[in-house]
Symmetry: C2
Subunit: 317 residues, 2 copies
């Protein structure tokens, strides 16, 4: 563990979203057994919260067609908290049946992104959420709310902070305590993180706010650091940085889990994760999808892994 | 410009090190005309401080054999501050002759890295610096001091903060005001930045401290952000992220200038640089060396570049 930074929390919780958000954008189907192998490896590294799959139409997202099978492999792990993305009542029924701990409902803070993403207005999305909330009643399955385009919209540009706080209030009104701000297209900046976290502390003081960043413009971890500096304790990340940017083919997507764990530990913030094992999971993710992923720590190795003076060429300055 | 962050400086100065630190590790010689084209492009983007070349033995570093020619192309630019890395008296004579504004002297904070890098003890390095200081007297050429392995050593592991403050004091004793901490192998963390900047404010209160980070473990910009939070106003970066890691082939090296400018502007810190032009320079750097560079903003484009809703595939969450 590194030196503690004044004002930072002593520990943080990382939800691994690679199995859902990361794999979802892979064109080629990843065999169910390999998904299970990757999740098992992440559990072995010490991660305990997962966005594990998505109960969507197999026609719309063929990669997630094995949602129930993936859940079945882990639903008896009482030490793991498993959530699934759920777009509608049909998905909610399947998710409840599959034994998820919580369903993640999502809408965008900007109307045009919501229309593009789920083909309905934000108002219609919230009508659907009310129906899902009724389905969930008495099942013991919790609801979580995700706010997409919380730091900017690829179609509309800036997103007003009020659009985010209003949506958070609506989630709270539906009984959701856990609310995630999603940096859908890498538009978050540390200044916007500070501004939005401050506004949410006023608007929904009893909510548990989680932050999800993309590294599209290289500042994903800076945004997480800004979140820590504001006392945020819950973050989402994707092993190896799995999951590209849907808008720019050459750009990076999700912040990688192992780089986040490295930064947190070096900032005195405990995560409960074994970084060495986690970089092994990142390399497994690379092997499974068959190409290089953007995570850095798995390539560079541990910070204090010393080299032999014979083994390197000189840098000269 | 983004929202200002409390405690951050209103402006910062970025020294571009791509032409020296970035290109130096390129095995294939980059034609002098292309180096000049790249530097001109960076000047056109608004950068005004350059580590432009290195006056080293052409046998040791063939890439820098055109140091005098590169300098000759820009020495009359009175609005640009041009420095060169100088390893010994012979290099210093050539640098003074070539008309540099300042010579950068360098030694490592750890003995084994100094031995490996320049094949002499730190004590011997400082004896050499005293000789260079005498050469520089009366020429109008300033001296700057760089501290390599300031955040950790690939051979020795952790580097004591006292090793850094002691070296900074020795540079001050030789009359150097501008002192750079170099994160030679990507071992800097924000906590170490805070610790070292605090210690230097005590040890050399009148020095102008600059920070140079590598993105080897993904946290280069987080370290720069931590530097800003401590009031540091001077940073070094390399266009496109030119310059790999000499220790790990797959790992990233220098923080990219355009990503740093993006972060600074979005944090309310002015740099005087036109980011659009600068991403053009980054693409030029990619073209010149013929491969993809790690810079992110040049791939993702401006933050507020809005897409058409017809142009993208959906992200679904």
């Amino acid at each position: 563990m590194g030196i503690a930074i004044p004002g930072f929390p002593a520990s943080a919780i990382i939800t691994e979203v690679g199995p859902r958000d990361g794999l979802q954008s892979e064109a080629e189907f990843v065999p169910t057994a390999r998904k299970i192998e990757l999740i098992q490896s992440l559990l072995d590294a010490g991660l305990r919260r997962f966005e594990i799959t998505s109960f969507v139409s197999p026609r719309a997202v063929p990669q997630m067609r094995d949602a129930a099978e993936v859940m079945a492999a882990f639903r008896d792990r009482d030490d793991a908290h498993l959530t699934a993305l759920v777009p509608n009542a049909r998905g909610a029924e399947a998710a409840i049946e599959a034994g998820v701990d919580a369903m993640v409902l999502f809408a965008s803070a900007s109307e045009s992104h919501n229309l593009k993403n789920v083909n309905r207005s934000r108002e219609a999305s919230f009508e659907g959420f009310a129906g899902i909330a009724r389905l969930a009643e008495g099942t013991g399955v919790a609801l979580q709310g995700a706010i997409a385009t919380a730091f900017g919209c690829p179609f509309e540009g800036e997103v007003a902070v009020e659009a985010v706080t209003d949506q958070a209030r609506r989630y709270r009104d539906l009984g959701m305590r856990h609310i995630t701000l999603g940096d859908t297209t890498g538009m978050a900046t540390p200044a916007l993180v500070i501004q939005r976290v401050e506004a949410l502390a006023q608007a929904v003081p009893d909510a548990d706010i989680a932050l999800h960043f993309h590294n599209t413009r290289g500042v994903g971890l800076v945004c997480a650091y800004a979140g820590l500096s504001m006392g945020i304790r819950h973050f989402e990340a994707s092993i190896g940085g799995l999951g590209g940017c849907p808008f720019v083919p050459r750009a990076t997507g999700n912040v990688s889990t192992e780089d986040m764990v490295y930064l947190f530990h070096e900032s005195g913030v405990e995560t409960g994760v074994d970084l060495d094992r986690l970089t092994g999971s990142a390399r497994l993710a690379e092997e499974i999808i068959g190409r290089e992923l953007p995570g850095q720590v798995m390539k560079a190795g541990p910070r204090l892994q010393t080299a032999s003076t014979d083994s390197v060429r000189t840098a000269h300055g």
